[in-house]
Symmetry: C2
Subunit: 454 residues, 2 copies
């Protein structure tokens, strides 16, 4: 029997990577993208936000030998640099000395992956094909394209078509199915701003860091690019007392930047005009169950589990979905009746967990990352982790640097760690005595009791 | 200026009641229903499940003088009667002596309300009109009907069209709006069974009670009808080890009833054949925000907040929505630009709260209602409530018998009461000493400290 013909809706980073993985196994792949080819128009029409590629993403790329190529255009960020209101900086490492998250441009990695997919004989990329309809029994699909309608027959369809997935929306309309789903808008929206390179092409701030201006209800962040620029993102309430909506004239915006981002203001490229030339983008969370329909159609990446960007895990999780599907393809010898249910079982709880973790992390980034108590807590955890690397991996490290630990386990364990650390932080004068031996004895006792019991 | 012309989608109990309320204020009402008129076909095509009308529902009916008519066909249920596996009965009151929830047939109350609506000159009821499209700016609506398409112009549209509301689904497709929504299937589905009257028209079990066969993961309940019959509902997992799906032959179903509902089996009307002649119905929860679009279209009842039936509050909450909208209409002198936002503000948090309470109550009904410890807890609360009726109203009473208490307050207060009662239940030998004075002193101290602080 010849291998199945697989349609993939959405040629974003996740769809493109999946196309490459499955094509390498000998499947005939049709990769559909509603947008024009950004490599030809030279205008990237997708999300321009920078992404932080970390170990889960790298592991997936490595599994098919793509990590080296991608790393050439990525910048390691070893620490967060926090900018306070007065412009004072403080630095905090993400993990151990050699551990980093890597700044990549979404457009760049996407185009690289499409290039690689196109070089494979058994991948056909169809740009400007917008999914219009899908038969979930026969896997016949209909697309709107330049020439009108185009129809395709496939054996499987994988929806990698993002947070507003058309495959998912068509699934939700299936009669008689029990499909639970949710789409939740966050109060915050975001807007991209930029900091150009110096005249000599160097970066205007520390290059190997993720910069954060944490201001409680809102924040600005900046990620470095190879050309010396930074891509900045302002996260702020969509509406309300202080919000994108309330900042409705030049003076208000100017005052807002002066009050809150004093040291960033002279570096940003005309932020006040930029602010009014753009519209803020929404952030939303998507849950759906099932992810697999008739064992012929499945969802992957944001289409299955759109999350907010505050843990830098959206693409990493999508890439991990691809790696797991690819591994299950081998494990079940190409039997998709088994692969798809096993994929759903392996990934659903992890998708839910990282959505929850990412949602919670807004508070950590925007509020706690400027809080002395919170930073002390992190220091104690780091020190304890050095001593007992098996017993205690800090939550951020589990999520970011430990692809062998499922997100779902990280979420559960992180909650127990939080209880334990709440107790440690109650110790009188903890800020003075945090390096003393008895602290780590107590921590060890609690960790053994609570973590090993769980 | 003449009063607005208001379209109401859905002539279920909530839509019909709202039509009567607003027509009495002088509005011109078009009430649309996708189904045929059940009064003419003599076959009720909607949900046939019995409902428990309680104080919130009565208050809404009373506000327009309809309570007496409805009460003529309702049966008061003063207590729960629990049936254990051996057929032993135990009885537990719902509230104080005179407090009851009232069994009504959904079909019956619905038809009564439509009769009342039709008697009003300014209400037009349009059966077999299925909403096809709605312009959220102009409030032009299009319906599929026997004669093809029908178009209507209105000033306002209220979607009272149930858990799978078409008005809501059309709103979700509006471009550029930030509409959060979720639809969650419960693991349990339900199936209706029946117990006929005795030959002399009397009831085969205690008439003035809600009967429960609590079995942990599943349960059977029965509500009395005026003709001597009971409407029974089996709640059971949809799929899984023991489920509607797993009970796939006569022997298994027979054994299931014999094992679990020994005393009900001889009373039920041919339950084994009945089981196979029906399909289980799903239960789902719906959240959406906003409930109001362009201040011209609003959602009400299940369309805004579908819940599970385990607190008996679905229709009561919908009726309360109507009463609040009607009161706001008076308060704002018919200014719908103010009425609709105020309605949303008043009701959204309460809708969320009762969805959550109803979801939690499955465990209470199916598991805890057969649990001695749980019943003891209820007895202590009832006794304390007698002494301090202002300080402590049990959660069930807040929800069911206290329409002046918002659901949202009941949920919050119930959580604090639970913490307090957890502490009381830890008192050694509580089962023996629960009537002693020191228990109520302790409870009083805790209640004053925790409830009054909140």
């Amino acid at each position: 029997m010849s291998k199945e013909r697989i349609a993939i809706a959405g040629a974003g980073p996740v769809g493109s990577l999946l196309a490459v993985m499955l094509a390498k196994k000998g499947y005939k792949i049709d990769l559909f993208e509603s947008r024009p080819d950004s490599r030809q128009t030279n205008i990237y029409q997708g999300k321009s936000i920078n992404l932080a590629l970390s170990d889960r993403g790298w592991l997936a790329l490595q599994s098919i030998g793509l990590d080296k190529e991608i790393r050439e255009h990525a910048i390691p960020m070893y620490c967060r640099v926090m900018h306070d209101k007065q412009g004072n900086l403080s630095t905090f490492p993400y993990g151990k000395d050699n551990q980093a998250i890597w700044s990549v441009s979404r457009a760049g990695i996407n185009e690289q992956l499409i290039d690689i997919a196109e070089q494979l004989d058994n991948v056909s990329v169809h740009f400007e094909h917008r999914l219009a309809d899908l038969n979930f029994d026969t896997v016949e699909s209909e697309f709107n394209c330049k020439t009108g309608k185009a129809e395709f027959n496939s054996d499987l369809m994988i929806g990698a078509d993002g947070a507003f997935s058309k495959v998912r929306r068509l699934a939700q309309e299936l009669p008689g199915q029990r499909i639970s789903h949710s789409l939740e808008y966050m109060p915050q929206s975001y807007m991209e701003l930029s900091i150009s390179a110096n005249a000599d092409g160097s970066h205007k701030m520390e290059k190997n860091a993720l910069h954060i201006w944490p201001r409680g209800e809102f924040m600005l962040i900046a990620l470095p690019n190879p050309d010396g620029s930074f891509t900045c993102t302002l996260f702020l309430d969509h509406e309300g007392e202080l919000s994108f909506e309330s900042l409705d004239n030049q003076e208000k915006v100017k005052a807002f930047f002066e009050d809150n981002f004093k040291d960033a203001l002279p570096l940003l490229d005309d932020p006040i005009n930029d602010f009014f030339s753009k519209r803020p983008s929404s952030l939303c969370l998507v849950h759906i169950y099932p992810w697999v329909f008739n064992n012929k159609v499945a969802l992957i990446g944001d289409a299955a589990h759109a999350m907010v960007p505050f843990y830098g895990q959206g693409m990493n999780c999508g890439f991990e979905d691809c790696r797991v599907m690819d591994e299950l393809e081998s494990e079940y010898n190409g039997n998709w009746q088994q692969i798809l249910p096993a994929y759903q079982t392996a990934r659903k709880a992890n998708g839910d967990a990282i959505i929850e973790l990412a949602k919670r992390n807004f508070i950590e980034m925007s509020e706690l990352s400027g809080d002395a108590n919170f930073l002390l807590r992190k220091k104690i955890e780091a020190k304890f982790n050095e001593r007992y690397p098996e017993l205690w991996v800090p939550l951020y490290s589990m999520v970011t640097f430990s692809p062998q630990i499922p997100y779902e386990y990280a979420l559960r364990t992180g909650d127990i760690q939080k209880q334990i650390m709440d107790e440690i932080m109650q110790i009188p004068n903890i800020a003075q005595c945090w390096q003393e031996e008895h602290i780590y004895d107590r921590l060890h006792t609690l960790a053994v009791a609570k973590l090993e019991a769980a």
